[in-house]
């Protein structure tokens, strides 16, 4: 069993949540009996935003609870979507009467559990809507699959929908802003080393020392392609190549660029990747309006990264720049 800084695999999520709220006692609180982090000042007189998913993606999602972003984050077990009753409690707690938007990553379990919670809330007369983020270009969207996964691009949805809600928009308008991000955001990830969940003795997949996985998701599931390890620049070229061929970018377009570490990669390597990403975009005539390099949506201690591009227009630029107390997204 790999060494980990934990007490008991059964308690990792609840102990983590307790630690998160202790770190920001004036801003956050945990709901009794549920692994839900909410803003201490909720409910507020605005559309409320609830997101969540499996644990193991820190700082997602509890790290994005705060002014200008989420009102509540629901944490499931490690890599397992939260249950509908916990999501329902979160909805009830943050609903200030103007409705609640659920931001769901496109993973089968997440979608089902959030939809069940939405049904429960609607039955109680709460106005609820949801959006499903599906930014991962590594998996095909076709009639025959459940579609693309929702990964790091979700953070841009939190930021922009959060800014729209903070500006006093109605639920339908906040949902529309979230959908605008979803249709303009694309991500692809890769791994050098797999991750190991606290309760399992084996890594989630096996890689030889000279191999890497392209097109991984964020739950330790293997990628879509295994290759020999390449240099950083070549990896960036591959990830950005897939993204740029998936969405129509024109000369002069402006983007937000996110280079996201998967939990086990030093910032040095992320910055090396970021350098190349700028070169590639510059060559294409694409302007980086705002750049984010850090860990935003991780996969425990997986080594690797994902690159996300969000194509911007004036509205998205303003909402991206709107104030938030989440340092990572300032």
């Amino acid at each position: 069993m790999k060494k980990k800084l934990i007490n008991d695999p059964e308690n990792v999520v609840v102990e983590m949540i307790e630690g998160i709220v202790k770190a920001k006692p004036s801003k956050l609180r945990k709901l009794d009996n549920y692994n839900v982090v909410v803003r201490k000042d909720a409910p507020l007189d605005k559309v409320a935003l609830v997101s969540g998913g499996g644990s193991g993606h820190e700082p997602a999602h509890a790290g994005y609870v705060g002014e200008g972003m989420l009102d509540a984050a629901v944490a499931g077990d490690v890599f397992t979507s939260p249950t509908p009753d916990a999501i329902f409690e979160a909805i009830k707690t943050v609903n200030g009467g103007k409705g609640v938007l659920l931001i769901v990553k496109n993973y089968t379990g997440d979608v089902m559990n959030f939809e069940m919670a939405e049904d429960m809330a609607v039955a109680e007369g709460i106005e609820v809507a949801h959006v499903v983020v599906n930014d991962d270009v590594a998996v095909e969207d076709s009639l025959y699959t459940t579609g693309r996964r929702g990964v790091a691009g979700t953070i841009f949805v939190h930021k922009i929908a959060g800014a729209k809600a903070a500006a006093g928009a109605e639920l339908s308008e906040v949902k529309k802003a979230a959908e605008k991000v979803i249709s303009n955001v694309r991500t692809k990830g890769m791994a050098l080393y797999p991750c190991r969940v606290p309760s399992a003795e084996e890594p989630t997949f096996k890689l030889e020392e000279d191999e890497m996985e392209l097109g991984i998701g964020i739950h330790g599931e293997p990628g879509t392609q295994r290759t020999k390890v390449k240099k950083a620049d070549e990896i960036v070229d591959d990830l950005l190549g897939s993204i740029l061929s998936d969405i129509n970018f024109e000369n002069g377009d402006e983007v937000a660029l996110m280079v996201n570490g998967m939990g086990g990669t030093p910032l040095m390597e992320l910055f090396i990747a970021n350098r190349r990403a700028h070169q590639v975009l510059e060559n294409r005539g694409i302007k980086v309006y705002k750049n984010f390099v850090d860990e935003f949506m991780t996969s425990l201690e997986m080594a690797g990264m994902s690159i996300t591009l969000l194509k911007l227009d004036q509205e998205l630029k303003e909402l991206l720049d709107a104030p938030t107390d989440i340092n990572l997204m300032k």
Binding site: Y144, T145, H219
Partner: protein, 216 residues
């Protein structure tokens, strides 16, 4: 065929406790299957959910079968998480709405199977052949229907149901996953037995074995 068997709440409770034991026992096996094509938590999630089911029903008494099965369903929905929680939860919730209180015949079992399929398909939007739990459940229910047409005894019909479930589970090995998390692997999902189809088989096996032991 007009054979009937009496299945009381006490017996159903025994069956669920046995299911829980079998899933807890197979926690690592299911997790290994899931590690190959999913995210290595199916065994952990099922064991967690059914452990809670066991705790919940062991010392309680229930008004009727429906009440008991509904408790199981709600416990699974609120503890399993992932996709299996809502899928199995909905399946048992549907069963709780139609489960007879005393006498079961072949039609009762067919009806139970059909309501399970309906619930899972509504939520998961899957068909047979997509490498999911339905690849175990649909053939199992078809075997019950065929046994009825052939006029087999209830015991034989249940045996056929178990056999078809096992074959269905094994038949998921070469399939390409197009639903659930395994679908993200595309071609690489081939060559592995589906963990959801496996847990469904384990559940069906316990139910059939327990019912047959009751008939003897």
């Amino acid at each position: 065929m007009s054979e009937k068997i009496k299945v009381t709440s006490e017996k159903i409770k025994d069956i669920f406790i046995k299911i829980a034991d079998v899933l807890i026992e197979n926690k690592n096996y299911l997790t290994e299957l899931d590690a190959a094509i999913g995210d290595a938590d199916h065994g952990i999630n099922m064991a967690r959910g059914f452990k809670k089911v066991k705790e919940k029903i062991e010392d309680d008494s229930f008004k009727n079968n429906s009440d008991l099965v509904k408790t199981v369903a709600m416990t699974l929905i609120s503890t399993v998480g992932g996709a299996s929680g809502p899928l199995y939860g909905t399946a048992f919730l549907n069963i709780s709405k139609i489960i007879p209180d005393s006498d079961f015949d072949i039609d009762s079992f067919i009806k139970i199977g059909e309501t399970v399929i309906e619930g899972i398909q509504k939520l998961g939007k899957a068909q047979r052949g997509e490498k999911t739990m339905l690849d175990t459940i649909i053939p199992a229910v078809n075997a019950l229907r065929e046994s009825k047409v052939k006029g087999l005894s209830l015991e034989r019909a249940l045996e056929e149901c178990k056999k078809a479930a096992e074959e269905g589970m094994k038949a998921t090995i070469p399939l390409l996953a197009t639903k659930g998390r395994a679908s993200y692997l595309g071609e690489r999902s081939k060559g592995h037995q589906d963990p959801g189809a496996t847990s469904s088989y384990l559940i069906i096996k316990v139910i059939v074995d327990e019912l047959i032991s009751e008939m003897e």
